[in-house]
């Protein structure tokens, strides 16, 4: 029953038509653009690369969670508030209550994942759109964070986490750096610049690869494998694509959705823990608007807002575009407010292109 009216499509064209196509093209475009306008600004020197890759990694960690959840057919608008909440919980437990930092981190993860599960259960039980349910948790969590912070410390910024984390075994998993020996060695060989004077004289300008980047890579690769290569990944697509049809063939749709809410909360906690360990402090207003930034990355990456379609690799490329644009405008000395103009433009272009690509793949009309 091959339809003779269908035009033969070349192998090359077929290989090109993928959900990530829009994001890949965007990535190339953004890199070419900044090589041209900011090529000499140090943006592509080791320090510059470290700068935008850390920022991109921050977006990527959140985008993986938001991406899988969106493919499963749901949103989590409380992602940003969860970041502030998680960080504040770590700081209060570790600094105010004097808990060991590892216990504070684990507790914060546990509490946030439980809140994620509650978001999921509410959505499943009430049948309300996750947009509304998590909008409520966005306000509830942000309010709770500020209240808890002021109640325990009378301020909204809690410092002293770095000192508390000295010698802790779990803290370096979020705040540490790896490959430091390798970078020192590269510095000694003159392959990367070293500090000429001051306290750090002789040390390379980049001490190592921060754990945030490692987390981003692990989550992106892991998320991609789970989504495309496992039974559970097929269930994620099915749950978002058509929950009724999926249930009918025995896919545990509710379990999949709740687990994805929990995973998104986990990603928010990874982000928050890395940030708290890096800054040595937690602030109640951290993570503001991150939920939308994560959704933007995911949508640039080719996911469908209504679920059932998307790509973790695409979302990671979306995060890369986001990070490079944000830091690139800074390097090129452009007015920082232009960042949002640029971002909005990229968003709308990416969505138009992605819609076109998706229609070609899925035959949607």
């Amino acid at each position: 029953m091959t339809d003779e009216r269908l035009q033969e499509v070349s192998k090359f064209r077929r290989a090109l038509i993928r959900p990530e196509l829009g994001a890949s093209m965007g990535t190339i475009l953004v890199f070419v653009f900044f090589l041209l306008i900011a090529g000499n600004s140090g943006m592509f020197a080791p320090q510059g690369i470290e700068n935008w890759s850390v920022v991109s990694a921050q977006f990527a960690v959140l985008a993986v969670g938001a991406c899988l959840l969106m493919i499963a057919g749901e949103f989590d608008l409380s992602l940003g508030s969860m970041i502030g909440f998680s960080g504040t919980v770590i700081a209060i437990l570790a600094v105010q209550w004097g808990w060991p930092v590892w216990a504070a981190i684990i507790t914060s993860f546990a509490v946030c994942i439980v809140i994620g599960a509650m978001n999921g259960f509410l959505v499943i039980r009430t049948g309300l759109p996750s947009f509304i349910v998590t909008l409520a948790s966005l306000y509830i969590l942000r309010g709770l964070t500020i209240w808890l912070s002021i109640l325990t410390t009378r301020q909204t910024i809690i410092g002293g986490v770095k000192e508390a984390a000295e010698g802790d075994w779990l803290a370096p998993l979020f705040g540490g750096k790896i490959l430091t020996g390798f970078f020192t060695w590269m510095g000694q060989n003159g392959w990367i610049a070293t500090f000429a004077q001051g306290q750090k004289a002789g040390q390379p300008v980049i001490a190592g690869v921060s754990m945030l980047i490692v987390w981003a890579i692990v989550l992106v690769v892991g998320g991609h494998l789970v989504l495309t290569r496992t039974r559970f990944g097929n269930w994620i697509f099915a749950a978002g694509g058509d929950p009724v049809a999926a249930r009918y063939v025995g896919v545990p749709v509710n379990r999949v959705k709740v687990l994805m809410f929990m995973f998104t909360a986990f990603c928010a906690c990874v982000f928050a823990s890395c940030q708290v360990m890096e800054f040595g402090s937690a602030a109640a207003d951290r993570g503001l608007l991150k939920e939308f930034e994560a959704i933007i990355c995911v949508v640039i990456g080719g996911a469908l807002l209504t679920g059932g379609y998307g790509s973790v690799i695409g979302a990671a490329l979306g995060a890369l575009i986001f990070g490079v644009v944000q830091q690139g405008l800074f390097f090129s000395g452009a007015e920082s407010s232009l960042f949002r103009v640029f971002l909005g433009t990229i968003l709308i272009l990416a969505v138009i292109l992605n819609t076109y690509i998706r229609r070609m793949i899925t035959g949607e009309r």
């Binding site: 029953m1 099915a238 999926a246």
Partner: protein, 263 residues
Amino acid sequence: MSSYDQNPIIEMVDIRKQFGPVIALNKVSFDVRPGECHCLLGDNGAGKSTFIKTMAGVHKPTTGEIRFQGAPMSFGSPRDAMEAGIATVYQDLAMIPLMSVARNFWMGREPQRRIGPLRFMDMKHANDVTMEEMRRMGINLREPGQAVGTLSGGERQTVAIARAVYFGAKVLILDEPTSALGVRQTANVLATIDKVRKKGIGVVFITHNVRHALAVGDRFTVLNRGKTLGTAVRGQITPEELQDLMAGGQELAALEGSLGGTV
């Protein structure tokens, strides 16, 4: 057909189903034998959906007995019925258009392969089997990764039927598979029903199109306002008579003779 000598796979005896004060089904009896296509006809609201949902384990009958391969059976859920070998292909819920044919085919029963402690979906096996099963049904896929949305309505029904057959259905319930299709696609689906029947699977074909029913049916049961108006064997009933039965049995009295005591 030799199927009349065989025992029914599933027997529904005097099924009555009440939703509150509404009697949806009133003492309906129905059976399916291996290798036959039993058409269930009826106008909208006749109780066809309620009846097949009872057979598929979605509803429990208020009274009456379901016998599966001779033994009384009570399905707690659609999953139970599926596991026993009763597969239902619903008209619109069959497939997820955004997902590939292979992913749809295996949805809920994905084949797995171990790599160390991890279990991955065996995509190669899934793709190969899907391509092969589709080819058998007469659909040449470009590739197993092709999205279901690119298939026509008839092809989607065929994928769903192929899936049910591959996973060992003994009874296949098709809910209005042809009602939204064009002429050529309808012919393809009817041809698929014929192939499935020849494998020894009992097919329950729900339709309100008499011509589609007569094209493949071995027996015909008409439902009207929750009651059966009788079961006729192929060759004993004309299209006009079937049509009249569906329309409400105004001429039932005149037809009783022609139904040959099968009422």
